[in-house]
Symmetry: C3
Subunit: 391 residues, 3 copies
């Protein structure tokens, strides 16, 4: 894997990157690529390096994001072209898109992709297509809310619905899904609270009525989302697969004030969720809070996907902050990449550098030996995910 | 502009400071100076370098604030005296105060001051006096709550009052004001929520009754402040000027728990505020949250005024953290200075060094070329404000 | 005092550590040691370096915490053995435990321990035993909730109970206690609000009934804890001793979402608490918020005990962040150590290094002279506590 154009700050960090260069990673949270697009323009490329969807941000502000400038430099080096957006776009347009994508993905040194199949921002490859097109083994992570929407119309009652979701989850896991993901942060927030039967019943009735008259089946609001999550989490615990939770920042649909992972505490302490492994995704800017949860709750894990590389050097700081309270056996490697191969490539490079920077600092401060740091990073790259997902 | 006595950490940072030395900045948020005071003592000088108003903090603790010690060193260098508070006070007392002030302000390399005329901590120069006394062009930013207090007694109803405020805002903008500022954080917080007609009516009735019996017209509480802000924000959007919002830390009147800019989300997403440019002021310690808002919402902007220089080196870290998610086209330069010229001088020096430190790190890490970093900093110093305020 | 095996990052930092090496510190917040245990195994040693109580975290994850690895290295150096957990355990087992403990505690260069006598995680030495066994002078800090539980059964009403608590506090202070500590964060949170008489009465009735039928006297919930704290705080103000408040992270019993020190604002602004000195303990990850409170409220103080050393290098960053807004006359030195002597030793070394790193940066950046930095650190090590606790 290329380490990209950004120099790391210490000699120990460089040596760590080198030591890990042959080590394959498990990307425990990403999305399928989009079917090979004809012409990728600046706006499409920029869109994978930000959570913004506003065209003005893409057009006016993305060129002024340090992390994006850095991404262009890294891509230019990999594509052997000038370090400009135009040159990068031109270089990619010269190759067959599948070849281009696989070439970049190979450079991520990834042994397996765990794919969240519920991405709703467009029409990505189906999992079958993705497996055919991309030369990296993959597994499915099923998205809770997407699955739950299938059973709304046919359910006779909220409890029917929740029962159908439980069956759906069992089938998904029997069919090979290695985990479940929730986007409650987007739909209701993460400040979990018990929902009474009447509150759920009213919300479910409204949703069914809307769906019945041709409206959207989109599940949103605390009554539906928290009920769904609470019930499904018990089933997920029984199924022995982890539950991924979107935490922290996301696109403009989300209220970040309600996306603090601390609100998930009931899932970590209530006996009915006994054994449920919770993987906190993204976390920024609440990564110190997430690290705390990981430090005291047996089944809490976290990653800095999305944060790396979207937050640039502050993503690298977030990794150092995380490894304050959080044991490295609790940190997972992921890209949260989607759509275009460029983001998989950049996310991988940045993530490895963030690890090298953090563990390199431990070596420089004589807190770890170099060999200990190498082994620690290997845990994050793959061993932790293998254990958490039973791979 | 003098770069002050604090060395910057990298060679790139020093070169950036040098490159920007001839570039004038637009200080998009500051306050008028106080009429030339006779004798400025230690307490008065200290008071402009802290949000504390408690005399014991000024007397006992301010000398133990690293940022204040640093300020004294910077001032001593500019005034060519010994680096002690006494020497600095003595040196300033030897000059005519207007000469002293203009000399320090000239060293800030500022081309224009946008003055919040609603400062309530004393009796500053009127805008007319200020324009006469200070040799830097200035524009007015009108303070919403101060303006709204004028119309309380004469209004027949809450909607009359809100209508009068809208008229007042139109007049202010027609009269030359380039923006509006709200201090809702101080008066109610920033966790915006819809206020019902009855709730507003009751609160307005109480306020009128109090004002009518000679009491204070101070607008406070969620019912009044959130109603005022919601209604005025629509008018401000129509007027095409930005709304500055005090966010994050402030003096002891404020509850910091309620001053998180994330609560402003309704102003960024509801269609009725379409086009409203929101400038988040200060932000610390919620600057990562503010940077997130800027990254996904077209019309969100931010600054680290007050944070720089009051938070010392942590203000400089805040700048680096901010430039993680936030494009540099969204960051504005400001001092939030008031009262004495010393704070304008120190704020300017510290702000430029914070920019140099952050952009210098990008250069050192090969994320930006030196020329790109120079241009980026120039955006922050002036171009962004010119665009946001239509200057 | 040994400076441990972790090198500090600058020459100024090293020189500061050296300058402070003969200076004794006041540990204003720690706990009594446990009676000399026969065999200390890995799990017991690990347990003092984390807030986790889960055996799986102790067994599987603690070896993967950078701060713990660092602690082992520091201990190995002090015990002159190999830098492995096994060697450290073996080395300690060779000495008489009292000798071993006193040897390590001597190396902390501590002149006085202020002991929270209410630790409930086991059976520590009584204060009398502790004074006999440990060769460092000590004073008592009385734990509010523990004291208040004594008076539940005998009280005829909630106000009787609160009155008895006030008497108990007076007796404790007359008996030599130099401060009071509250763990409201664990029992109810810190989002203080007024509690009505009915709400208190109902909660107190339930507690008495439970206690009366042989159940637990454990005080929990907002009604009881906030009433107790509000009433006791007035008495503590009258008694002229400080109130320590557990803030920020703790073990898995705590909801970190409710442990933000900003919720304590009523204790700092309401006239009935006039003169009450509040010492915010631990604070992480809300240390910037705590620093803000210290910067504007006369009687707010803080420490980073527990954060140092549990959060490793991020604890050192927390110290730098804290010294942004917070004057160094407001920061206190503490370990929050308990149970085994190893944690007192490591906490002391790490705390001094954190101070050296932060003040060393001020020296390197020419914000303070070396001599000023030496004096500033001495304030934190002992002078501040002497003043706050009237020692």
């Amino acid at each position: 894997m290329s380490s990209g154009s950004t120099s790391t700050s210490t000699d120990a960090a460089s040596r760590l990157l080198e030591a890990w260069s042959g080590r394959l990673a498990i990307d425990h949270h990403c999305h399928p690529l989009f079917p090979w697009p004809r012409d990728v323009g600046a706006r499409q490329l920029r869109a994978v390096f930000t959570e913004a969807v506003d065209p003005e941000i893409l057009d006016q502000h993305m060129p002024a994001l340090a992390a994006y400038r850095d991404a262009i430099r890294r891509l230019a080096k990999a594509l052997d072209c000038e370090a400009t957006e135009e040159a990068v776009l031109q270089a990619r347009s010269k190759s067959d898109p599948a070849t281009h994508a696989n070439r970049l993905l190979q450079q991520t040194a990834t042994e397996m992709l765990l794919l969240d199949s519920g991405y709703t921002g467009g029409q990505p490859f189906s999992l079958e297509e993705h497996a055919r097109e991309i030369g990296i083994p993959q597994r499915e992570v099923v998205r809770l809310e997407t699955l739950a929407e299938r059973y709304i119309s046919s359910a006779g009652s909220p409890s029917d619905w929740l029962g159908a979701v439980r069956s759906g989850l069992r089938e998904a896991v029997e069919g090979g899904a290695v985990g479940v993901k929730t986007i409650s942060a987007y739909r209701a927030g993460l400040a979990l609270r018990p929902i009474g039967a009447d509150e759920l019943s009213a919300a479910f009735g409204e949703l069914q009525a809307r769906a019945g008259s041709g409206g959207s089946k989109r599940i949103a609001g605390e009554a539906l989302c928290y009920s769904l999550l609470a019930d499904a989490a018990e089933e997920i615990a029984r199924l022995g697969v982890p539950l991924q939770v979107h935490c922290g920042f996301g696109d403009n649909d989300e209220d970040l004030a309600k996306s603090n992972p601390l609100g998930l505490r009931p899932l970590l302490v209530e006996p009915r969720y006994e054994g449920l492994r919770l993987v906190l995704l993204h976390c920024y800017p609440f990564h110190r809070e997430a690290a705390y949860l990981c430090s005291v709750y047996r089944h809490a894990y976290m990653d800095l996907s999305l944060t790396l590389p979207l937050a640039g050097l502050d993503g690298q700081r977030a990794m150092r902050e995380t490894l304050g309270l959080c044991p490295w056996t609790k940190v997972l490697y992921a890209s949260d990449a989607s759509r275009l191969p460029e983001i998989y490539f950049v996310a991988a490079a940045v993530h490895r550098e963030a690890l090298a920077g953090a563990f390199g600092e431990f070596v420089d401060r004589a807190m770890l030996s170099f060999d200990e740091a190498v082994a620690a990073g290997e845990q994050v790259l793959a061993a932790n995910a293998r254990r958490v997902y039973n791979l």
